[in-house]
Symmetry: C2
Subunit: 451 residues, 2 copies
């Protein structure tokens, strides 16, 4: 009997998140205040985040305990299955062994609730009952409304307009879970109204939507803000993925040679990779690869520099790979990867060569996603197809060289709400996209100057 | 630690299907030839089904071995989890323990691939490379295209037009898996053209779509037909659900007092219930309840009589509860439950009082589905909300009487492709529906006369 699904019993759900800051030899430069350009302190962040999350952002503890109330909700879908992709291997005739961690089994269909539940919990614990956020493809917005609903918190979501139009069922899902949703740019905020006045047809961007959510937070007392990626505490909450995967790989006598995840803000990649990166820091030989879309190539084409996280410059300045906060990416279907920057921790690890980064074009990712759906069954989210494209490249390389590598990737989400993207691909309506160098140069010219 | 997900290791996937015909004290009357009205033999069915499935339709073997190639595909998602619905119990403040078998984790999102894979396999084995079928809400059509794709079989799906329009992502999904799909009534068949000539706005019905798929089969040599419910072999393939559930319940020291499933053709209900009904036949005290929609109440308002399975009278006559093969149900969102008849085995068991049947209205089912989504997270398919509505009724009864019953239901599918139904419900656009007695009487008047 060939075992393809490797489960883990619920008493093995990690009791602690892993904080890679404790193990990195060199930490990222600290966030700076947007006005003073001096390192920010907890008080600067207190208006938008609960204190516990601010502490988690900077803690140097290697492991942070997961409260029982959060574990109790994780148990609605965790541990997620680790799956051996036999049929994909067979289709590729590769000697590689391909495993994926299936985060698509959560109710919102992605890894996002791992942090959404934690953030909702810590807000509730400090008495905050209203949270504003933004969402790209809708994975994060639906995950946060799912989590807020369980804690009886009001959830307001600004969804990037192009995705709002492409993925109408994401709106429905958010409303099923009692969330309130606006297409961004919207008429709800000054930021939104200003953008619409200049360009009524603006497709929106994550940078814009973040500005709107932050304005909503600041202008409504008692409202806090939640971010679905980028920040240290968000990445840390996702490490349950890698911690579980390690146990599951071990249970079948495996350890990965190659680890792959797609990156938009960096959180699903970090969630799988960081617990293994710990071993790499300690000398283990692993190839850890992050894949970004060629249409929004923050690391492969961006600068490593301080920049704002949002369009309007409301956020602290983060030291990261960035295409410039004014960057508006093309309307690719992988809406969750349309971000101008990259998590400071992921950026620092790329800079330090702890991880490798490739950019892949849209047509190759959809071709890869389709092969996956036709061999393994599950239809991947457009974001996830980026990881799959690299998996297939690696597996083919193994075939050419006759190397039996063990490849592990994060199946970050399913594509049930993204099927119009597959329609477009199958009808030949999609194309590749190279963001013109002049436009990147223009966005770069707006980078804030730090002395 | 409260365990809410009860897994089963892959070496425990059932190796045999359970055939309830071996245990029923009284078998349903045999199918009759539509023209001669005499019992049909294998040769009568040979033009539309492969011989192995015809044999399975009438076998009296209690257990039928599942071929290794089918098990190998089942292992893409089976065993499915058994889940304790703690949060739903808590919301209802009920002393009842509520469990559900989560069949929504399959790639097409429902129980349907359990039989789709088997049917594709037996067709392939006998050399048939083209299969036609019909689908209501799209669960069956997508499951069959998923299965056919894995065996390199061409799959042609006639989808009831109202569902085709309500659920556009089902079409996408079928195309992702290489299937070909038409909205029924279509211009592809004589049946379809005739219906469209009389009523260009016909919303379609399962009866019509079956006629179109059968015409496609008969008029294209080498094409076979596949049915997603109703027939004995289809129900038998679904018994992996109940066989697994029994093992999983046993592993936590439980046995259900009440078993609940929704019924359209009867297959998901049968899949869960039959292995337990075996125990009931042997004296065990269990309450087995099937739920049908009040808008298409085959058992609670229909007659137990011979009738055709399709609109045009192409199928054999089946002895079943029926609203008349001319019945066109209202456009409720639970498209998978819009069928005029009921599986002969389920019908016979209802007649013999082995199972109880209730009809529930649409508004109660959506209210129940929403409560489920807001407590347990997963959004149920409109069909599945019928089972959940009865679960909630039972759990409330347990609260009133202080009885600690163990309730088990089949979570037959998720509602990711049915979110427009929730939109309609949340916007107050849905209403209850009582099919007028005169219309049922008119449909009944068309029942074929059997001497």
């Amino acid at each position: 009997m060939v075992q393809s699904i490797i489960t883990l019993s619920q008493d093995k759900i990690p009791q602690q998140w892993y904080n890679i800051q404790a193990d990195l030899k060199k930490l990222p430069d600290p966030p700076l205040h947007p006005a003073t350009k001096k390192p920010i302190g907890p008080d600067d962040l207190a208006p938008i985040f609960p204190m516990e999350l601010i502490k988690q952002e900077v803690t140097m503890e290697r492991f942070v305990a997961i409260p029982e109330d959060i574990l109790d909700i994780y148990r609605l879908w965790r541990p997620t299955p680790l799956v051996r992709a036999y049929r994909l291997e067979e289709a590729l005739a590769t000697p590689a062994r391909i495993y994926f961690k299936n985060e698509s089994v959560s109710p919102p269909g992605s890894h996002k609730p791992n942090t959404a539940v934690a953030q909702a919990y810590f807000n509730k614990k400090e008495g905050f009952n209203r949270i504003a956020t933004e969402t790209g493809a809708g994975q994060w917005g639906s995950a946060l409304s799912f989590a807020c609903n369980l804690f009886d918190i009001e959830c307001i979501v600004y969804m990037v307009k192009v995705s709002y139009q492409q993925k109408p069922y994401r709106r429905s899902l958010i409303e099923v879970w009692n969330g309130k949703i606006y297409a961004s740019p919207s008429e709800q905020t000054e930021t939104g109204r200003k953008i619409l006045a200049e360009d009524p047809d603006s497709p929106g961007s994550l940078g814009m939507a973040i500005s709107e959510a932050l304005e909503e937070t600041i202008s409504h007392p008692g409202t806090k803000y939640a971010l679905g990626s980028v920040l240290n505490h968000v990445l840390m909450h996702q490490t349950v993925i890698g911690l579980e995967a390690k146990e599951q790989m071990k249970s079948v006598g495996e350890y990965p040679d190659v680890i792959i995840g797609c990156i938009g803000g960096g959180s699903n990649f970090a969630g799988l990779a960081f617990p293994f990166a710990k071993d790499k820091i300690n000398g283990k030989d692993i190839d850890i690869i992050a894949i970004e879309p060629a249409a929004s190539p923050s690391i492969t084409k961006g600068l490593y520099s301080y920049d704002f996280g949002d369009l309007s410059g409301l956020t602290p300045l983060l030291k990261m790979y960035t295409l410039g906060h004014g960057f508006i990416p093309p309307k690719i279907h992988a809406g969750g990867l349309r971000y101008h920057g990259m998590a400071p921790l992921v950026s620092a690890m790329a800079k330090q060569k702890l991880i490798n980064v490739n950019a892949i074009q849209q047509l190759e990712t959809f071709e890869s996603g389709l092969l996956f759906a036709r061999t393994q069954g599950i239809v991947p989210a457009p974001e996830t197809t980026h990881a799959i494209a690299e998996v297939i490249r690696q597996a083919k390389k193994c075939k050419e060289t006759g190397t039996e590598k063990t490849i592990l990737f994060n199946f970050s989400g399913h594509g049930h709400f993204d099927l119009s993207a597959y329609d477009d691909y199958l009808a030949g309506r999609l194309s590749n996209y190279q963001y013109p160098k002049e436009l990147i140069d223009a966005a770069m010219a707006q980078l804030p100057k730090i002395d």
